[in-house]
């Protein structure tokens, strides 16, 4: 089966040790995680994981179900690139003398919409947000100009294009059903 880059978005309770449980599902199936971002979500007390991995359509369904099976995972979904808005951030540490001696470097930085956020006599820091390809392309161009001292990039953060906020709805539904059951039991 054809492999694709999938983005998984996982919502969980905010407890220690859950990252292990989520990544273990990938390890068990020998799937490499390409990038991983964990942070608080917009819902209080709920954490959000954004994970990218190359795999096939059948496997990704199984992975998502295995992740969702973990007690503290609230929901897990997978997406292809056309279903989400996504971004990465990259920082490039460049040699300030080279930057100053070659005007073309600044041109490249501007062309990519990157910005210089720190300058000192030894190095300068360039920041770029955008799609993976652009970040990689800027890196190759700067590398070819011989000015890069360090390069780091983040994992992907992604947000769905859908108009339905599934996690909020899910939690509201769960709560309503629970209260309803309680009500029935008390009758």
């Amino acid at each position: 089966m054809e492999k694709k880059l999938y983005t998984l978005i996982v919502y969980s309770e905010n407890i220690a040790g859950l990252l292990n449980q989520v990544t273990a599902v990938f390890t068990r199936r020998q799937i490499n995680i390409e990038s991983l971002n964990v942070s608080a979500s917009s819902i209080q007390g709920v954490h959000k994981y954004t994970i990218t991995a190359w795999t096939d359509g059948e496997t990704i369904v199984k992975v998502v179900r295995q992740i969702e099976k973990k007690i503290e995972v609230i929901q897990a979904h997978y997406f292809t690139d056309d279903e989400i808005f996504y971004h990465e951030i990259a920082l490039y540490k460049l040699s300030t003398p080279k930057l100053e001696s070659d005007a073309y470097i600044s041109k490249v930085i501007r062309r990519y919409g990157a910005s210089i956020v720190e300058v000192n006599p030894v190095y300068s820091i360039v920041k770029k947000t955008g799609m993976s390809d652009e970040i990689t392309a800027l890196n190759s161009e700067l590398q070819s100009l011989g000015c890069v001292l360090q390069f780091v990039r983040s994992g992907r953060v992604a947000i769905t294009k859908s108009c339905v906020e599934r996690v909020n709805e899910f939690l509201a539904e769960r709560e309503a059903k629970h209260l309803n059951n309680k009500h029935i039991n008390n009758l």
């Binding site: 969980s12 309770e13 040790g17 292990n20 449980q21 273990a24 068990r28 059948e58 369904v61 199984k62 179900r65 295995q66 969702e68 099976k69 007690i71 503290e72 995972v73 609230i74 939690l171 769960r174 709560e175 629970h178």
Partner: protein, 565 residues
């Protein structure tokens, strides 16, 4: 309710009582001493069974849970005490058995420092348990215990681990009992779409050769009656998995026998002839399916399961019916038309006759030669009026006793299916005698598996736990030897077993025993075993190089079973 100031250890005991626990299996040690001290004051209500090795505590809890449907409980110390339960936790996970393992842990101030008997138990057990939680504060005890029991028994059952830090055992807090029947991130029973029932019913009503696969889910869901109503209304023959054997009586007209590698010929062959295959509470394990590429390709497949992660995991299905099978079977039965499938059901007969003539007759009714495992199993089963609980170890003893025992009551087979844990049988049988004290518990084991848990004879001695041990002694690790003969050119690499004198061992433990070497002595031996008030060890010298047949070789096709090897 007024609050009372007590220790975390005392709160554990009260929380266990609040959960209705009456029996626990355990072994004390340094980090769990405060809990054992609290237990001392609750001996009237909490019957603690001191095992001889922590692995046995976990298996005993499994045996207890499997026959009773209640949650089995273990109480052990940190470090080695905890890691010794790991095999039992993994076993309970893969066979969906509800147990709660409570292990001591070093105090929170020592965590991560490689303290004496410290092990990262939550880290170790996360991948093999349904839930694993560290109790670091006394006030968390009531919540943790309530949540542990709720998670262990609800939905698809499984093992839960509570890692109980020593400081949390001794600290005081204001105790109040806690009940939990809701965890917002955990959906124990998935919703079923009405359309799925309609589509499944449409397929079954149109089927000419429907065939059902019955798994342990039916027992776990307590849906044995719903299953019968379902099968009988539409006249659907079925095969059962190893763990589902007692979900339907062996002699029921529609029960066509066991599925899988060493199952019966008919149900395996017919899997590849049916037009609609209905799987109920089973997970298409590789021992059932053989090669999935050639498995039931001709059939429309309907899968009823409580665990959404099982749908399409091993076999792609046409209609998924997620949910609790007690409910989903009812909904489905309501939509079925009454039907008769006489020709289809009759078509199993030639396979039954063929299997009888070529396999069963010489295994169960041999006239000469050494005793066979199959005939021993059938004789024991019949001597109990087919009423006993069968507990097995793993290997040939397991397959042959499971095949030739007969089941007339629900929850009558306790065996390690998914993990295939040698050493499981003896402690699981001990647990079973506590889970169902009114029933006869027959534990079949080989000379290999018995020795993996032989120290539990000490527990049997102390408890007078009425386990009827049937040791099928062939002086080999028989199943591996059979595979060596079939697939490794008869190179018997470390499978011959030099055995001790089991009669002397039994005598040392004060357990009555007998050896049977000749066919004419078997019935009397079984009678003596069943007549004994309490435990008994019946050693039967069986054929040394016997084989389990029929057999679908690993990776083979279900309708191409070997009848000899």
């Amino acid at each position: 309710m007024s609050k009372e100031r007590i220790t975390g250890a005392e709160a554990l005991m009260r929380s266990l009582e609040h959960q209705g626990v009456t029996t626990l299996f355990g072994y004390p040690g340094g980090s769990i001493m405060p809990a054992f001290d609290a237990l001392y004051g609750h001996r009237q209500t909490l019957n603690h069974i001191l095992v001889r090795h922590e692995q046995a505590a976990a298996h005993a809890a499994e045996g207890y849970a499997r026959v009773s449907g209640r949650v089995g409980v273990c109480l052990v110390t940190s470090g080695p005490g905890a890691t010794n339960t790991v095999t039992g936790i993994a076993d309970a996970m893969i066979d969906s058995t509800p147990i709660v393992v409570i292990a001591g842990q070093v105090g929170t101030s020592f965590l991560g420092s490689d303290a004496f008997q410290e092990v990262d138990l939550v880290g170790v057990t996360q991948p093999i348990s349904k839930w694993s939680y560290q109790i670091r504060r006394a006030e968390d005890v009531p919540m943790a215990v309530a949540k542990a029991f709720y998670i262990a028994r609800s939905g698809r059952p499984g093992p839960v681990v509570l890692d109980f830090a020593k400081n949390a055992q001794v600290e005081m807090f204001d105790y109040e009992p806690v009940d939990i029947d809701y965890v917002r991130s955990y959906v124990p029973v998935p919703d079923t779409d009405e359309a799925a029932f309609d589509e499944a019913a449409r397929l079954i009503n149109a089927a000419r050769r429907p065939f059902a696969l019955v798994g342990q889910g039916v027992e776990l869901g307590n849906a044995q009656e719903e299953l019968l109503a379902f099968l009988e209304k539409a006249d659907i023959p079925c095969g059962t998995t190893l763990l589902g054997l007692s979900a339907i009586p062996t002699d029921h007209r529609l029960n066509k026998g066991m599925l899988g590698m060493h199952g019966n010929l008919g149900p395996n062959v017919k899997t590849n002839e049916c037009d609609v295959l209905i799987a109920v509470g089973m997970r298409f394990d590789d021992r059932v399916t053989g090669n999935v590429e050639t498995y039931a390709r001709q059939a429309k497949i309907i899968h009823l399961d409580i665990d959404p992660a099982e749908i399409n995991k091993n076999v792609k299905v046409d209609v998924a019916v997620p949910g609790d099978c007690k409910h989903t079977l009812r909904c489905l039965t309501d939509r079925l038309c009454e039907a008769k499938h006489n020709d289809w059901i009759d078509s199993f007969k030639p396979y039954e006759e063929q299997e009888f003539a070529r396999v069963i007759e010489q295994e169960v009714y041999p006239q000469e030669g050494p005793l066979k495992m199959g005939e021993v199993a059938r004789a024991v089963s019949e001597a109990t009026g087919n009423q006993a609980v069968l507990v097995t170890d793993v290997g040939q003893n397991q397959m042959l006793s499971a095949r030739y025992f007969k089941y007339s009551r629900k929850r009558s087979i306790v065996t390690s299916g998914g993990l295939g844990t040698m050493g499981f049988g003896l402690p699981a049988a001990i647990g079973a005698t506590f889970g169902t004290p009114e029933r006869t518990v027959c534990a079949f084991m080989g000379d290999g598996g018995l020795q993996m848990s032989i120290q539990e004879l000490g527990t049997i001695m102390e408890q007078r736990s009425p386990v009827k041990i049937i040791l099928l002694n062939n002086n080999y690790l028989g199943n591996v030897r059979q595979w060596q003969a079939m697939f490794f050119g008869r190179r018997y690499s470390f499978t011959p077993m030099l055995n001790p004198d089991y009669m002397k061992i039994a005598e040392a433990y004060g357990i009555p025993s007998r050896v049977v070497e000749r066919r004419e002595d078997l019935a009397a031996g079984i009678e003596a075993m069943l007549a004994a008030d309490g435990p008994f060890l019946l050693e039967v010298a069986v054929i040394e190089e016997g084989n389990v047949l029929p057999m679908t070789p690993p990776g083979g096709t279900v309708d191409e079973m070997l009848l000899e090897c």
